[in-house]
Amino acid sequence: MNTGIWTCQNLKLKSCRWSSPSPLRNLIIEEKSFVPCEDLNYGRMSFKGFNPEVEKLMALMNPKDEEEKEEEEEMSRMQTDITDEEMALRYESLVGSMKKKFVKKRDRAAMEEDLNQNVVETNTKRIFLKPQD
């Protein structure tokens, strides 16, 4: 009987060819524009003071040169009066004193302070004790 006979060609599954996952598939970024590749400047330009607003924009928008960036960093450091370390110390003491201000009367009595003025943690909190029979 012919109906029971399936030719090999009909049953043969197409050989699955799993393409090996390319190791670099996730590491290629496509960039369609030239602007980030060549670091192009801003499109509006004005020379010799023809349009002062555009000249201001040019100074704002153009990526700054490395020399100018270094100068700016130095300037900003010179202008701070208080160093970061001093600021950190002040904050540390400030936090402690603010905490003391908002503490309740009961807890204030329980608060102990070390020699280092660090607050020792109080373990016991009074809860209702069920009376034993």
């Binding site: 980030p36 400047n41 801003y42 020379f47």
Partner: protein, 244 residues
């Protein structure tokens, strides 16, 4: 593949050249395989497991891992984030249609201007020149422009131009003018006081204090497209002396 790409920086490549990744350089037993990330710019395309060149030109490289093909063309293909000069062609409802020299017109919403609201519409007429950037630009969708950036500020974009002349140059000249430490820009700085708007679609708009100066600058820029650097400097110095 990173190393093969780096070897060929500065060479002229043709479409069809490919860089395949050899498995040896990503799997290494000695050091932990840290495969390099490669950014392929215009002219290079990743297809399947190979990096293919699709434009003819010179392979360029920028630290740390950016490669692209420096090619020359006159027809502009929109890319997201690029600023172009467009001409408003129609005004239909909420949207302007802008011609930027591409295969189809881009749409520019009237809300994409600084300080524009539904009640406060921007003052834009048909035929105005706009300096805008692409927010949508791919081959499957209609390109869209906007005259504000992501924070809502105009940053110099929008309608410009009263007076002045708009003309077309090749895309290579535009990139040369906008590159950092550009010679063309420094030559122009010494000529006349003028204002320039450069669109990445090859369109330039120039305005100077007199019509004659405007025309001189426009002709200079159009002609220095096809000149070598020395010829260009000679021409500029002649203009500066007042010969032309």
């Amino acid at each position: 593949m990173f190393s093969t790409l780096k070897d060929r920086v500065g060479e002229v490549l043709l479409p069809g050249d490919e860089f395949s990744c050899e498995t040896e350089d990503t799997i290494s037993l000695t050091d932990r395989a840290k495969p390099d990330k490669v950014v392929c710019g215009p002219g290079l395309r990743w297809s399947g497991d190979r990096l293919m060149v699709c434009k003819s030109g010179v392979l360029r490289h920028k630290q740390p891992n950016v490669f692209w093909i420096d090619s020359q063309q006159r027809r502009y293909v929109p890319a997201k984030g690029e600023t172009v000069i467009g001409i408003i062609t129609t005004k239909s409802g909420d949207v302007f249609k802008v011609d930027f020299g591409g295969s189809e017109q881009a749409s520019l919403s009237y809300l994409a201007f600084e300080g524009a609201t539904k009640r406060n519409r921007p003052n834009v007429q048909v035929g105005d020149l706009v300096f805008a950037q692409f927010i949508v630009a791919n081959k499957d969708m209609e390109p869209e422009l906007a005259c504000i950036d992501s924070s809502g500020r105009a940053n110099g974009m929008g309608v410009f131009g009263g007076g002045g002349l708009l003309f077309k140059v090749s895309l290579g000249l535009v990139r040369r003018m906008l590159s950092p430490h550009s010679e063309v820009q420094s030559d122009l700085e010494q000529l006349f006081p003028c204002e320039l708007v450069v669109g990445m679609n090859g369109r330039l708009w120039v305005k100077s204090s007199s019509i004659q100066q405007t025309l001189i600058i426009a002709n200079l820029l159009q002609s220095c497209d096809t000149m070598t650097a020395s010829q260009r400097r000679e021409l500029f110095s002649r203009v500066k002396q007042g010969a032309l």
